[in-house]
Amino acid sequence: MLKGYGAVILDGAWLTLQLALSSMALATVLGLIGVSLRLSPVRWLAWLGDLYSTVIRGIPDLVLILLIFYGGQDIINRIAPLVGYDDYIDLNPMAAGIGTLGFIFGAYLSETFRGAFLGIPKGQAEAGAAYGMNSWQVFFRIMVPQMIRLAIPGFTNNWLVLAKATALISVVGLQDMMFKAKQAADATREPFTFFLAVAALYLVLTSVSLLALKYLEKRYSVGVKAAEL
């Protein structure tokens, strides 16, 4: 049915999965940094965090990808000669893709984490302080474990959006499953077949993610009473 292109597309799917998982890991780290900035009592740090999340969330992913991939490469090569490096520097699409998606979704996750931290009752941190914990201990022992439960729905959403956004990285030449499908479609003149196959693979990825995150949500909500309607 796929005229021998099945294996090639599956190869691309593996790359897509790697890209998505690595970007999400980077985004989580950047999201935590972003939220620490935004909730920081230091004015200009909070302002910097807000700027990051507002600007990134106001610009389309595709524009950011083009900006960081082509623009970033351009800037690097304009600056490199100034510091005495004369060879042309080529950005690796995979590394650039992880960097870009991580940077974009870090901004979205900082928003999710902010909501989650603000959702923890104030008394919790106060009780921690009353037990003589220092602020690091309060943060990691009291706040983070409770924040995870509150952040899971937003985290799930961001992961699903990120998984789908990986398709855009094919535009800058990463040979993910979208790129491979386009090649196969051009070679066989059967675009519908191949894009449908890619759509199905993405649907599998999002469905499995939904199931996994539902399980996670259940685990982290142990001991929390749900409101019955």
Binding site: G58, L66, G71, R78, A185, P191, F192, Y202
Partner: protein, 232 residues
Amino acid sequence: MIFDYNVIWDAMPLYLDGLLTTLKVLLISLFFGLLAAVPLGLMRVSKNPWVNLPAWLYTYVIRGTPMLVQLFLIYYGLAQFEAVRESIFWPWLSSATFCACLAFAINTSAYTAEIIAGSLKATPHGEIEAAKAMGMSKVRMYRRILLPSALRRALPQYSNEVIMMLQTTSLASIVTLIDITGAARTVNAQYYLPFEAYITAGVFYLCLTFILVRLFKLAERRWLGYLAPRKH
């Protein structure tokens, strides 16, 4: 000087044309998307599985696959079939603008349908009971009570969806449309100034986003004022 903005200044007419294209595609797809979303949202709250399931499947598949794949399926994919190429719709389906609007409208209809369904389900019980107590038929209850109240309460979430759609329209540039992103790509192709070209596009989108946020704030004040917390 590292940056060169003279070229960008000269290309401003191109960006402004792009802005018009972006707005045109956005408005067309939002209009038809919303038009389809209302019946789909109503189907999603139905207790009859024969009504609910097709709508569920539609929103699940559309929301579970990337927009780019949907766009490619419609723009490149449909041409694979002889029957499509010979049908009376071909003049439309071979146009990039039409395909982009169609793909975006389908996409937003699925997300909006879920928003409307969620809003309908969150209707306060008392409103429904009051409508029943007044002896309203089901159709009249939906028309007079449920839909007006649910659509208003969906406004904050719908504003997010509209902003997401604004960003999604940038994909139109991949299928040759010259929207804001397309203008930036053209400028980059002509002068090789990727940083300046895409930063300018980003500023355009950022301004559009702020304007949309502002407009929706005004709309919420107008139509959701009755739900705002009381000011002392």
